[in-house]
Amino acid sequence: MSSRAHRVSLGDSWSQRVHPDIESERRRQAFDVERLTNLLDRGARNTTLRREVESLFRSDPAFSLVNTYFMTQKEHFQAAAQKRFLLHKMAQRLNWPEDGLEIDYARRALSGDIILGVHTVATKAIISLGSEEQIAKWVPLCKTYQIIATYAQTEMGHGSYLQGLETEATYDAATQEFVIHSPTITATKWWPGDLGCLATHAIVMAQLICSGAKRGMHAFVVPIRSPQDHTPLPGITAGDIGPRMGLENADNGFLQLDHVRVPRENMLSRFAQVLPDGTYIRCGTAQSNYLPMVVTRVDILTSVVLPSLQKACVIATRYSVIRRQGRLRPSDPEAKILDYQTQQQKLLFPLAMSYAFHFQAVSLLEFFQHAYNAVQSNDTSLLPELHVLTTGSKAMMTDFCAYGVELCRRACGGHGYSKLSGLPSLATQVVASCTYEGENTVLYLQVARFLMKNYQQIWETEGAHSQRSLPQSVQYFTMVHHDKCPAQNASDFLLPEIYTTAWAHTAARLVEDSARHLQVLTQSGADQQDAWNQTSVSLVQAAKAHCYYVTVKSFQDAVKKLDSEPAIQLVLKRLCDLFALHGILADSGIFLYDGFLSGPQVDMVRTAYLDLLSLIRLLG
């Protein structure tokens, strides 16, 4: 290739085809890309189906995303509304099953650029929290869009801390109605999607008060806009909350309820009921009403957060092989920026991350399905672990994906700042997830609470049976291992046992330190809450290390199962190695601190890591 090959003149014939720099990359792949795609799609048949669905959109100008970036917020919103309308007609015409893969693939193809995302969340909330009669009544209306529902939980003054929500639902036995009310300005529901202009009904989370007692958060179906002309119903004030960083189509809104009355039947009552006389009956655990949150979190991770990172990696990596800057040798043509070590360092970690989280999401989905089915048949024993697994995954994946997308954006230099790169929109979409559906620090602390509880259990029940009673994700607490890492040279750090053990050891050590710290504070007279607050920085650190360990472990387990695909197994193993080692180097202090790794061993990790960068670069 001549040194001028990358210079593009208007009318160059090959500028109609694939860029030669990309083509040359594709020619040297060390594995079968199609088979890896099949693996990610979880089966070749899914890949075929996905491509069929995608081709429907590619050829249809009504679904074009070409001009999206030039639209005003209003135009963007209208276009998204139109796409939802057309998509619905298409699904009917082609007889797509309601919860089938086709719809998921369609959403993926449209990059989520359609309205009524939360309508689906609210429908699922009715399914998980409603009685059989309620499901029969409301769900068909939702599915045929006779009603548009939003899920209204967050308030202006209250977010992740659910007990702090102020909206009240007071039962009036005389009329057999609930009076739903926002007592203060901070109680205004704020942020729910599809609420600003669209929703006709809201699933309102409110403090139930019946027979004079507060009963905690429950869900109520509240009609908010007229079925005739869509104007707000009496007692309702609703609207748009104003412009945001992104999420132009989300229709985030506010909702004030002024003594709005709904019939007794509108309280979703799978797990708790109020009888006509005001008697309160609970049939599930207190946590059961939070089930929709778990469903939503899993959904967001697989349909928004992870795809954003994957797309960012695709964009940044492709751009880095056609962008040439500077020279690696004076006599060479300008070099592809992906051949710079610093660029590899920036981009290959997000790439490793996107595979790590893919496999973590797959195992989370499996566990979720298992636990969800159990809950639906009223067995809630797996709920705490399901809750903590989704909580930890949500915090870790959104944190890292947001970081990764932003890294990719900045790695594209100035052009990464242009919306036409696609990266700013991906960034604003994914960063929103760090605070919605549970603020990440709050979530890490929930994980920490689970870790502390289980850690203390080991102490209390020390003995042969302790391991069996521990939930799977924390069984490593009792693992017997060395105080020092046995690695002798850099290549030892490419052994999964070595780095997985390093993560297990360090996560367990941080958990132990936090537990000790808590204990010391309580023994010196601090009360539980103060002690917790004064330990919270180290608790968050412990929870983060735990989550990192869980991700490394699930990635490693997934790689192990790929024996039938040695070429793919090798490339994924390298990414797994990179993911684990990157984390060690980023926070080497916690590994050096107690001498588990020595200084020379950290140097070995660094050597292994830098070698991996060029190895993965060569694999393409």
Binding site: Q73, L198, Q341, D594
Partner: protein, 660 residues
């Protein structure tokens, strides 16, 4: 005022006014700044439209209108001093940018720096008054920080005594310059100079692009807006394609290099001088990093003092700022904002000092200044970028809304990581300088300035295996001791990077390949050097503060900045045997203690930055703390709320429902 904020302010142990004086430079400067700000606030000609509710085209128009009023008012108020202009604009622009900004920040300075007296006489006056609106066109679609790769050519034609400016390829189209798309009528274009058949590298040319009077693009010029971006919505970043476009010979800026009428090229005396503008802009960006970070943490800390979330103890809803995790997010950023404020003013002073020496023909300090600004620009903009985002996240969900102001601060600031030199490239430039200094030291030469600590390298002091004696002398409450250990860390990482560079070179021969294979380590070493410089400059600043109360308050911020840095990079300090595990435990513990010590002064420390609400552009960061009422008022102004039922209901929802 919100009672929470009133309590916070009453509990502070110092008078924030005194710190404001310190940040401004003197009480007199604070007084003058406020005088200017109050003039603007009381002037009815400045109607402050809320950009958040406008479309891009409307925002552009509002920005142009604002610039026009600004120029008129500055004349009226007699504002000409650079600091005063900066205060004036800081208040009015808030978190946004102005399309004519490049005229003042790049076009005029370049003219002054590189134009002959005759050229300055011709163009300076009209461009100050905006008859000529200029921009600076360097970056091309296919080429950024690597300047030698630029493709635009300027070929001299002695017959007509003109330069023919040409964009030969798609990738050579000038891309990104601010104000280029719609606003400017002239551009300083950087192009490869070709005369008498030979290419002499990049030179600057004044190119008219739009006709005075009609503002239409001139024949041979294709110019326009490059489309929407992450932020900078009011800025018409543009493209410019020139088709064998002719300009007179006098339009080449010829203070240094010249082309004679017959086409003879005359070399500049020193090629270092053209760095001038770049060094100026980069050192200015360090100050900008401090400003943006200060604004973001003002918003986040005030909001955390009025936001009550969960309860630490049942029944006692504490403000967010009482949570250790929240303090751990925000207070290190606050300390960093102060550190960067001091580094920013140091950079400004140093630039002016060195510029004076340059005026007297002394170029000796230029290489270090050039290297220092590159690295510090990268170090501070990266840190500030992450810090602003952390502040936004610390505001929870509301941080994502434009009502918080932080999304605008972020998207306006983040290009600083890539423009004026992409940060990784900047770090590597400083690394190159550090490696040169390292070689000098190794060959027995004594070096000066902020790198003088490398003089100790050849002696045994910093040899990793010999430093077992060091940990005992570390006093984690002593600024000198902390500066010393940052110095040791930097020296060690520079030493390691230099040795691995030598190692690669002995294996692979080519210098460039070795450099590439060491670059991750080189960036890491430069990062440590810059971190040391910031710690050192902050420590130096402490010594100069007279008032004991203020010194004590800032000393705590210094300790937090340095100790938090150690705790984050504990691996480097442990691995180099600079500190022991138990010292790291002490550091971690001390960081938590400092959070509690700083806690009562947190609001006063952000008040001291003295940002007017209009500059913050934030409902969450309001001085009076009345967040929630105003949040609701703000949302009501959203264009989507203009009608009770949105038109898309009739267009799409209704048919969707009735079809079934």
């Amino acid at each position: 005022m919100n009672p929470d904020l009133r309590r916070e302010r009453a509990a502070a142990t110092f008078n924030p006014e005194l710190i404001t004086h310190l940040l401004d430079g003197s009480p007199e400067k604070t007084r003058r700044r406020r005088e200017i700000e109050n003039k603007i606030l009381s002037d009815p000609d400045f109607q402050h439209e809320n950009h958040n509710f406008l479309t891009r085209s409307e925002r552009y128009e509002a920005a142009i209108k604002k610039s026009a009023v600004m120029v008129k008012k500055m004349r009226e108020f007699g504002i000409a001093d650079p600091d005063e202009i900066m205060w004036f604009k800081r208040l009015l622009l808030g978190n946004f940018v102005e399309p004519v900004g490049l005229n003042y920040s790049m076009f005029i300075p370049t003219l002054l720096n590189q134009g002959t007296t005759a050229q300055q006489e011709k163009w300076l006056h009209p461009s100050t008054g905006l008859q000529i609106i200029g921009t600076y066109a360097q970056t091309e679609m296919g080429h950024g920080t690597h300047l030698r790769g630029l493709e635009t050519t300027a070929t001299y034609d002695p017959k007509t005594q003109e330069f023919i400016i040409n964009s030969p390829t798609v990738t050579s189209i000038k891309w990104w310059p601010g104000g280029l798309g719609k606003t400017s009528n002239h551009a300083i274009v950087l192009a490869q100079l070709i005369t008498q058949g030979k290419c002499y590298g990049l030179h600057a040319f004044i190119v008219p692009i739009r006709e005075i009077g009609t503002h239409k693009p001139l024949p041979g010029i294709t110019v326009g807006d490059i489309g929407p971006k992450f932020g900078y919505e009011e800025m018409d970043n543009g493209y410019l394609k020139m088709d064998n476009y002719r300009i007179p010979r006098e339009n080449m800026l010829m203070k240094y290099a010249q082309v004679k009428p017959d086409g003879t090229y005359v070399k500049p005396v020193s090629n270092k001088l053209t760095y001038g503008t770049m060094v100026f802009v980069r050192s200015f960006l360090v100050g900008a990093a401090a400003q943006s970070l200060s604004k973001a943490c003002t918003i986040a800390i005030r909001y955390s003092a009025v936001r009550h979330q969960s309860e630490i103890k049942p029944g006692e809803p504490e403000p967010q700022v009482d949570f250790q995790t929240q303090q751990y997010k925000l207070f290190p950023i606050l300390a960093t904002a102060y550190a960067f404020q001091f580094v920013g003013s140091y950079m400004k002073d140093t630039y002016h000092r060195i510029n004076e020496s340059i005026g007297q023909g002394d170029l000796s300090e230029l290489p270090e200044l050039h290297a220092l600004t590159a690295g510090l620009k990268a170090f501070t903009t990266w840190t500030a970028n992450a810090g602003i985002e952390e502040c936004r996240l610390a505001c929870g969900g509301h941080g994502y809304s434009h009502c918080s102001g932080i999304p605008n601060i972020y998207v306006t600031f983040t290009p600083a990581c890539t423009f004026e030199g992409e940060n990784t490239v900047m770090m590597l430039q400083t690394a190159r300088f550090l490696m040169k200094v390292y070689d000098q030291v190794q060959s027995g030469k004594l070096v000066h300035g902020l790198v003088s600590y490398l003089n100790d390298l050849p002696s045994q002091r910093i040899q990793p295996q010999q430093v077992a004696v060091w940990p005992t002398v570390v006093d984690i409450n002593n600024p000198d001791s902390l500066t010393e250990i940052y110095k040791l860390r930097a020296a060690r990482l520079i030493d390691i990077a230099a040795k691995s560079l030598q190692g690669e070179m002995s294996h692979r021969k080519s210098k460039e390949v070795a450099w590439n294979l060491t670059s991750v380590g080189l960036v890491r070493a430069t990062d440590a050097h810059c971190h040391y410089v910031v710690v050192k400059l902050f420590a130096d600043k402490l010594l100069k503060i007279q008032d004991k109360t203020i010194q004590a308050v800032l000393r705590n911020l210094f300790l937090l900045y340095s100790l938090y840095g150690i705790s984050q990079k504990a691996g480097d300090f442990l691995q180099g045997n600079i500190m022991t595990g138990s010292q790291i435990t002490q550091v971690n513990q001390r960081v938590l203690e400092l959070l509690a010590v700083i806690r009562p002064n947190a609001v006063a420390l952000v008040d001291a930055f003295d940002y007017k609400d209009i500059t913050l552009g934030s409902v969450l960061g309001r001085y009076d703390g009345n967040v929630y009422e105003n949040l609701f008022e703000w949302a009501k102004k959203s264009p989507l709320n203009k009608t009770e039922v949105h038109e898309s209901y009739h267009k799409y929802l209704k048919p969707l429902q009735s079809k079934l």
